[in-house]
Structure formats: C-alpha cells, structure tokens
Symmetry: C2
Subunit: 448 residues, 2 copies
Amino acid sequence: MADDDEREIELTSLVERNDLTGIRLWLAEHQPYEIADELSRMDVHLALVPFRLLDKDRELEVFEELDPHHQHQILLGLRDSAFRALLEEMDPDDRARLIGEAPAKIATRALAGLSPAERKMTAALLGYPEGAVGRYMTPETVILHRDLTVGRALEVVRAKGADAETVYTLPVVDDGRRLAGTVQLSDLVVSDDSELIKDIVDVLVPRVRATEPAEDAARLMQQANLVALPVVDSEERFVGLLTFDDALELIEAADTEDIARQSGASPVSGHYVAAGVVRLARARSVWLLLLIVAATLTVNVMQVYEATLEQVTALALFVPMLTGTGGNVGSQSATAIVRALAVGEVRLRDLPKVAWKESRVGVLLGLMLASVALVVGTALVGPLIAAVVAVSVIAICTWAAVIGSTMPILARRVGVDPAVVSAPLVSTLVDATGLLIYFSIARLVLGI
Amino acid sequence: MADDDEREIELTSLVERNDLTGIRLWLAEHQPYEIADELSRMDVHLALVPFRLLDKDRELEVFEELDPHHQHQILLGLRDSAFRALLEEMDPDDRARLIGEAPAKIATRALAGLSPAERKMTAALLGYPEGAVGRYMTPETVILHRDLTVGRALEVVRAKGADAETVYTLPVVDDGRRLAGTVQLSDLVVSDDSELIKDIVDVLVPRVRATEPAEDAARLMQQANLVALPVVDSEERFVGLLTFDDALELIEAADTEDIARQSGASPVSGHYVAAGVVRLARARSVWLLLLIVAATLTVNVMQVYEATLEQVTALALFVPMLTGTGGNVGSQSATAIVRALAVGEVRLRDLPKVAWKESRVGVLLGLMLASVALVVGTALVGPLIAAVVAVSVIAICTWAAVIGSTMPILARRVGVDPAVVSAPLVSTLVDATGLLIYFSIARLVLGI
C-alpha cells in the first residue's frame, strides 16, 4: 500500500509540473503494468503526456494493459500514424476486443488502417459473438502435426515460436486440421527426440467451441489447471488457444460484473477513480428506479392496514426492523446461490434441493432472531405485540430464504443472468410480502 | 449444463445401485477435475466408493482437486497405508494447505506418516502464516545459476524437469541463492545454445516476499500476465514459485469470500450442495444477530416519534420505502468501493476524493428517486407529505452514498477487511439514521 501511494504521488505530480525528464526517469524504472495502472487513474489529457514519452515497444505493452475505455481515449489523442502503428502491432485477440467494444468512429478508423493480413485475422475474431471464447483466444500458435517426431517438433517451435503468443501448450492436429489433443512444451523438452508426437499427445484434454461463453471456458481452465485451453470450430478443427492470462482477466472481470449486479448496479467499465459522477449514477439508476416503483407496493400494503396502525401504533415501531431482517436473510440466500451458480456448484435441477435446504436454514435463523425480537419487544411494548413480532420474524425469514434462493435459479432457467436477482431486488420483494405476513399475523393474534 | 446434469445423474445413481463395473467405466471416461466435481456434490460415505476404485495415479490427481473440507472427510475414510501413500505423493504446497486447515487429529497423523524429506518441506511451508504466499508456492522448481549457458540450462531442465511442478518459469539465482530474475522456458528454446543465462534473464520481473498475502500476489500475476511469480525470503533468496493455477484458485476463492462477506455471511468452505443446513445457518447467523440488535435502534427512533406518528399516521406509510431506498443506495456505494479496494483501484488516500464523488452521485440519484416519490406520494396522501418524503429521499440518498463509500476505506485504514462493511450492515445503519432525517424534516415542514 505505502509503495503504491508513493508511486502515484510521484507520477501525477511529475505530470502536473510537466517535468519531462522526471517522467522519462519514472517510466524507465517501472514495469508496463505499473505504468498502465497509474495512467488508468489519471485524466486522459494528463495520461497522454507520459504515454507519448514511452518508447515504441513499451508503448504497446502499456497500451495492451489498459482497459478498453482508456484505450479508446488514448487512441483519440494520437496522430494517425501512431494510431495505425499501435493497432498493427497488437495481439489479434486484444485488438479484436478493443475494436469490438469501440465507438463506431474508432472501430472504422482502426480496421481501415490495418494491413490486409492483420485485418483478416481481426475480422475472423470479430465474427464471434461478444463474450464468446472466439473473441478472447489467440490464433497465433505453433501447431504440430501428430506424425512429427519430438525432435522435429522442437525445431518447429524454435523456428516459429517467436511469433506465437504462447508455446507452452502446443495443439496437435491431424490431416484435416482437426484437433487431436495437445502436448506441453515441458513434455517435449523431457522426451526423447525420436519419439512420435502421436504417442505423447494428451487426447483427453478439455476443448471448447469458439462460440461458447468465455467465462465458462476460463472457469474450466481453473478447474482443470490448464495454462492454455484449445478452441475448436463446429467441425472440431483447431482455431486458437485461450491463454491463462486472459482466463485470469475473464474471471476477475466476471466477478466484478456479478458483484456490481448483485448490488443492483450495472458494471462500470474502467477504473473507479477515473469514472465520472454521471456515469456512476447512470449505472446505478436503472435498478433504483425500478425498485422505488416496486416499493410503492409497500406503501399500498401499509395503507391497507392504516386502520390497524391507527388502533395499535406500536405495530409501526417494528416495521423497519422486520423489513430489514427479511431483506438481510433474503440477500444472503440470493448471494450464496448466485455465486454457487456462477462457479458451477449449483445446477438447474438442484432447484427443489436448494429450496428445501434454504427453507430449513430460514427457519433456524428465524428462531434465533425471533428470540431477540421477543426480548426487545417485551421490554419496549409488552409481551403480546412482542409475540406477534417474533412469530412474524420466523415466517418472514423462512419466506425470504426460499424466495432469495429460488429466484436466481428460476432466472437462469428462463435464460436471464442470475446475478440480476440482486440483494436490493430480493429486499424490496421481501419488504412488501413481509409486511403482509406481519399485519395478517397481528390481526389474527390481536383480534382486530 | 445439459451435459453436466447427465453426468451427475449417472454417477450418483451408479453409486446408489452399487454398480461397481459401471462406476469403473464412468471413472475411466472422465477427467480428474470432473470426477472431483462429482465427488464434491455427494455425501462422503457415498463419495468414498468411487474414490477407492480409482487407480493410484488418478486417485492423487482427483484428491488434489478436492477442497480441504472434502479432503479431510476422504482421509478419515481411508486405511492407514492408503492415507500415508496419498499424502506422501501430494505436491508440497497442496499438502501444506491441507494440513494447515485440517483438524488437529488429521494434521498430526498426516505429519507423522510422511518421509523425513517430505515432512521437512511441508514444515517449511507451514512455517508461513495462513493466507501468505509461502503456503501456496511450490518449492519444487528447476533453479538455474546465472553463469550457465542456454545449452547447459536446457540439459538441467531435461534432467530435473520431471520432478518440478512447473518448468515454464525458471528462477535464476546468483552464488548466494539470491534471485537475479527469471527466464522463460520459451526464451531458452528459441535462444542460441551458447548464450549465457545472465544475458537473457529478466531482472525486472516482479517478486514477492513469502510472508505477503497470497491474494495480492495472485492479483499481481494477473496484472503482470505472469505464468509463475518468484517468491523470496527476507534476504531476497529464492524460495519458491506461485503458479498460475494456484493464482486462479486464489482469485476465485477470494472473490467467493468477499461476495459472502458482502451479504453479511461468513464464507462456507466446500461445495454448496454438500454443505449442511446447520453449517449454512451458522455462517450467516453472526451478522444477522448483530444486525437485529442494531435494528432495535430503529425501534427506538420510531418510539421517539410515536406521538408524531399518532398525529399523522400517513407518515408511517412511507417508512419501508424510505429505509429500503436508503439501504439500496448505500449498498451500491459500499459494494463498488469494496470491490475497487480488492482489485487495487482505490487506495487509502483516495478517501476524500471518493467521499466527494459519492456524495454527488447520491444527490443525483436522490433527485431522480425523489421525483418518483413526489408523484406517488401526491397521488396517495397529498402534496404536503409527498414533499416531506421527496426531500427526505434526497437527504437519505446522499447520506447513504457517503456512509456506504467511506466505511470500507475506514475499515481498511484500521486494518479490518473492507468486505465486512456488508450491504446489510450499511442498510441497517442507514435505516436508523434515515428515519431520524425523515422525522426531523417532517416535524419541521408540518410544524409539529
């Protein structure tokens, strides 16, 4: 932490003082990812100053570390020649993602400036749907034929390895370019030169279709401990490799997105510190609007029971406690299930199992929390209303756990991202229904 | 999904029918990670049946894929010879984590059964604090001296590579075993045999101390695109490598933990489907108890204003809507900042910047939501109370955004995990304070 802070103060203040010698020195002393991290925190007009001072090689490395939002901003600040040179040198998968997410005017200019070979490669990747593995894989690999010897294969790696993004996992194909499996470079290195690739190829290695979701592929790599995952087309032909660094990034991005959704916000691309107030507010506004409209239901429920409230004002005292507790229990269940779905622990057919389990969890939690409510209620308003509150707590907790746990599974079943079943959504639903439960119990017990 | 479901139905039913031939066939057709995934979903007494049918090599691979909770359960079901053989063969880092998290009786039995060499290696890793890189790194690497030639280095890799967990990143050391940097196996393969290691070593590669938090190291690997990260002791001597597969696992586990905390629950280790009702309830109960006790504050606030409520019952109608909205806005801010802290986008010194930004986001959201409240309120109870509600919405949203965003940063400043500033905690705090705001505005405007 301390190091980070010093680093930041330094570069920002150097840029603000326009101390070009100081900036050059700072840049020489830091790694591309550190430079990218600092640039992401600065306003773009400031970030362009150090960016332009980078030498060509590092410029590319730093640029590839930036997120798409910052990449677009930087590109807009570059002259045409620099713009073209940068894009031409990028890895095809990084470039495809940049262009795929860019505003139309940047995308057109970017594609037009590319050499025919690079343009073809980029267009192929852009042909895959957004979020698909095809957008994230690298087509630049060293492919081995299954009939090669290990010695010959190593020569191929030596000759072509420099142009590939990775040579640790080597796809092995048959005559029709169909994927037979993969060999690891480490296996080549420790094998005898005369051995045949087809005798050491791992044919059981997992593979994915280029059209499958990239997040699922990344989680598969984590489960299967793969440094690279081979990607095939619909006819089992090899088309590229998803590498571990993209997998790490995919998992972090997917988790960031799920976490934002879980709080009822759209994910904001780019660095928090660099995000504008209006952009942050917009990302959070949609759900808040929907939820406050949904919350008018609670006003209606309260209105229905206004007469009851006028008779027994004490009932009103416990409304925030009950809605709060119900919301908390429901959010916990929803959060647990959304995560379990994301990492593949819970599947669609687990719905009845999950509902039954969570209902019992809800009863247990309800019993525990009801005892607190009973003590507090008795002390403040007497045993009768306290009993009403306690019974309501049990009922609301059970109901909240069931609703919170089943809604994400139902969402996935109808093809919606389970993460939209956010904590606020569950709380709001449980608020209105919880009040109905509370007042019904109150009227029953108090006989009004 | 469909595939997963078929797979599961098959193995579970094979085990339940005790169809040993069928189970053997199923095991032969699946990868270790798939087998581990299925075992994780089953009760341990059932999971032991297929586990015992695995041949020795795959038994180890499957076992290493299980989470510690399941590993402990499986170990308890094994005979002593099988127990020892399994532990002896494990990777030292996986074994250290298993023992570190095991109940005392398993840990003692496990350490006692190891060969002296393996016991020494495990003890060294267990010497590092829980959660530190030292617990997750592998000490089994191929170390190169900086004075070697590339040709000689490749011979070393060939000779010792089979025993190492990874040979893709090769640590380079000087005479005192101090880390000079790393070379990539891919660089060795494409370099001339006569070149010297010291001329191609990457000296700028990031390195971490073995005592640093493993999660930070994993995120550094993601940022710097490293397949393995060298780990050093306090004297800069090389002690091990953190590999990408452990980094992927660390990031996923850290995110799972943060997500659970964010909903006010302790993380539950192991598979959701296999977790018992009592264990789930216990993980969620601590915060719920604290929060319902804190929520008695809302009862107190309501009681203070009971006379006001008796005079104007209509005020009570909007209580759930106001507490709900405040909770939602506060949770969104807290979630955004906890995540930004976790991935390193926000730092301690950003506190004033964040508070100022979030207060403006809160005002914007408040204005938007107040307009809805004004319309709904006017329709249901007339313009005067509607105005009170609308003004309260603006004040509560601003307050909630500031509280939600600053509390996680303050938590980290005092050394507490920011993720404990959960959505439920923020909601509960905002409930009580929001009610104070609401009733104060009401008494001011209505003159009561």
